[in-house]
């Protein structure tokens, strides 16, 4: 049963036409889903439409079976966490967190209890009297979180909340968010352009592009089985080689040729295989992380020239070129004598075919 539903939405007008057109979205209760995509794809528009800051020209927003389309944002009981934290600079941590409760006319004693409880939850006990200016980035983010959690919202919306934090802090906060979500069971919609964030946090990812949902699935599905070229490129299928289609059998095993090399591609479903005939020009896409370097020929290998290798500690990044096409491989450190007789290989289930 959908807990949050966007039905038939037209919203987010830029230069006369809406970013979201006839848009549908369903979220189950207790899910942490991420809206993932590049800037301008409509993920923030979706969030703001759910929150009520954008009024759709057409369509309905339904939360827990209530149609809230006509409700202003202050009547929707939604928690919002912003990229810039948006703390009230003139109020203390306590007053910031208490703000929503005050608007709901909660009595003083209950406010004190609830604020203390939620500050404890985000490990900020003792910070009640501090002003936002005297908090670190991570602390501010936690206050923002506490402020929206304390009102016990139906839904928590987060708009790239971690992008202003440094890498280490981001990791910590991500773990924190995950922990909180599991503990409280609160439905969360998380907007990000960072695939790693989406993959590590969510139970479900929705990849968006130009106002459309490209794919909706678990992190594993998105990462390993991208349903469209866009999603594939977004989750890191960065290597592109021109090839020629040869054939595909009933078991969905395709053969393509890259120069004289024949490559076998076997996937449950190919993205772009209908109406391909032998000899048609195609692109094949694969990840640098899935690209192995071998000294000798093997299945699905292609001979290439090594340009340079970058040592990265645990692994190395290799830049290769084949027929004027650049390939990158990120794999274990290998001793390489000369740069000519190098082969790179990709497993048959880790390649995607793209029509030209």
């Amino acid at each position: 049963m959908a807990y949050i539903e966007l039905k038939d939405i037209d919203a987010g007008y830029v230069k006369g036409s809406p970013i979201l057109k006839d848009f549908h979205l369903e979220v189950k209760r207790g899910e942490l889903i991420s809206l993932l995509g590049p800037s301008g794809c409509g993920k923030t528009t979706t969030l703001r439409t759910i929150a009520g800051f954008i009024s759709p020209e057409k369509g309905n927003v339904i939360i827990d079976k209530n149609d809230v389309t006509k409700y202003p944002p202050n009547k929707r009981n939604i928690g919002l966490v912003f990229q810039t934290y948006a703390l009230f600079p003139h109020l203390s941590v306590f007053e910031n967190v208490a703000y929503g409760l005050k608007r709901r006319k909660v009595d003083k004693k209950t406010i004190e209890e609830k604020v203390k409880k939620v500050l404890n939850l985000v490990s900020l006990t003792g910070f009640e009297e501090r002003l936002p200016a005297n908090l670190s980035g991570g602390q501010r983010q936690r206050v923002a979180l506490a402020r929206s959690l304390v009102i016990e919202p139906d839904l928590l919306l987060l708009d790239e909340p971690l992008s202003n934090l440094d890498a280490k802090l981001r990791d910590e906060m991500r773990a924190e968010l995950s922990r909180l979500q599991h503990k409280l069971g609160i439905t969360m919609i998380y907007v990000t352009h960072d695939q790693i964030e989406a993959l590590s946090l969510s139970s479900k990812i929705i990849v968006m592009n130009e106002g459309n949902i490209e794919q909706m699935g678990t992190p594993k599905e998105i990462y390993e089985k991208p349903a469209t070229k866009f999603v594939a490129k977004f989750v890191g299928f960065d290597n592109i080689l021109t090839a020629k289609f040869v054939e595909c059998d009933e078991k969905n095993t395709a053969i393509v040729s890259v120069g004289e090399n024949k490559l076998k591609i076997s996937r449950e479903q190919h993205i772009d295989i209908k109406s391909l005939n032998e000899g048609d020009e195609i692109n094949i896409l694969f990840r640098p992380e899935d690209t192995r370097i071998t000294k000798d020929k093997c299945e699905n290998s292609i001979q290439a020239k090594l340009n340079y290798a970058n040592y990265q500690g645990n692994s190395s990044s290799y830049a290769l070129s084949y027929n004027d096409m650049e390939i990158r491989a990120i794999t274990e450190n290998i001793e390489i004598q000369n740069s000519k007789d190098i082969y790179f290989a990709i497993s048959s289930d880790k390649i995607i075919i793209e029509k030209k």
């Binding site: 929150a51 009520g52 800051f53 202003p72 944002p73 202050n74 009547k75 929707r76 009981n77 939604i78 928690g79 919002l80 912003f82 990229q83 810039t84 948006a86 703390l87 009230f88 600079p89 003139h90 703000y99 929503g100 608007r103 709901r104 923002a144 402020r147 929206s148 009102i151």
Partner: protein
């Protein structure tokens, strides 16, 4: 570096040119004799005493003060919403709205005063004080809107949205969250507007009458008849007060940011 020395020289000249006259007038206000002489002979406070004894200076000082205060308040009450509108939203016709509210700064003050005289005083028979008040208020709009806008622009819109998402009405959010954080800008606007009104001549010139006048106008009238350093003394008082206010405003609010 050669250029730096030359530059410093020009700046020094400019500063002397801009500030020198003030120092000279302050010094000359202590002159013993009535003749406008510099360097002054002797030392006397008689002109300062005279300033406080002239009735018309005292009455018009209070009038200028009251007009300035109330005109500024109204200009703020009307101007802050306009500033908010134009900083937060984009809409068709925004350019026209901005133009309308800055037009009192474009039209020469003299013309505004004259127009008010012809229309309100002569035709509509409005009392002079009211006309004076209205004229001053109108010319303060560009100042209040501009300065408060500058302050609002630096304020993160998300904070307002956070307040609304937590249950505050938009108006409530403005008063509880936005206003406390733009107070410095509002005070800066107040000071700027008040000084502009207090010092104004073009509007007040046409809108004076029996018993109604402003301090600058009275100073001009005085100068037409008397040539003694009384005006020097009064000017010196004004100059020192202005310096103190501007300095205080700069220290506390950083008013130079808003100019």
């Amino acid at each position: 570096m050669k250029k730096s020395k030359f530059l410093i020289f020009i700046v020094a000249l400019a500063v002397i040119f801009l500030i020198g006259p003030f120092i000279i007038i302050i010094v000359s206000s202590f002159n013993e004799t009535a003749v406008m002489k510099f360097p002054p002979k002797g030392f006397s406070l008689q002109w300062y005493q005279k300033v406080f004894s002239v009735d018309m200076f005292k009455t018009t000082f209070w009038i200028s003060l009251k007009i300035g205060f109330f005109a500024t308040i109204i200009a703020l009450v009307i101007g802050i919403p306009v500033a908010y509108l134009n900083v937060r939203y984009k809409y068709r016709g925004k350019n026209i709205v901005e133009l309308i509210f800055s037009s009192p700064a474009i039209i020469p003050g003299l013309v505004i005063g004259f127009a008010l005289l012809r229309y309100f005083i002569y035709v509509a028979q409005v009392p002079i004080t009211v006309g004076l008040f209205l004229g001053h208020t109108a010319i303060l709009f560009p100042y209040t809107v501009r300065v408060v806008s500058a302050s609002l622009r630096n304020f993160d819109l998300s904070v307002e949205e956070a307040a609304v998402s937590l249950g505050s009405s938009p108006i409530g959010a403005f008063f509880r969250v936005v206003f406390p954080n733009i107070q410095a800008g509002v005070v800066a606007a107040f000071i700027l507007a008040f000084i502009t009104s207090f010092n104004n001549v073009p509007i007040s010139l046409f809108l004076t009458g029996p018993g109604v006048s402003t301090l600058p106008i009275q100073m001009l009238v005085y100068m037409e008849y008397y040539y003694d350093p009384t005006i020097s003394a009064l000017s010196s008082i004004i100059i020192v007060l202005t310096v103190l206010i501007v300095q205080a405003a700069e220290k506390v609010l950083g008013i130079s940011k808003y100019m």
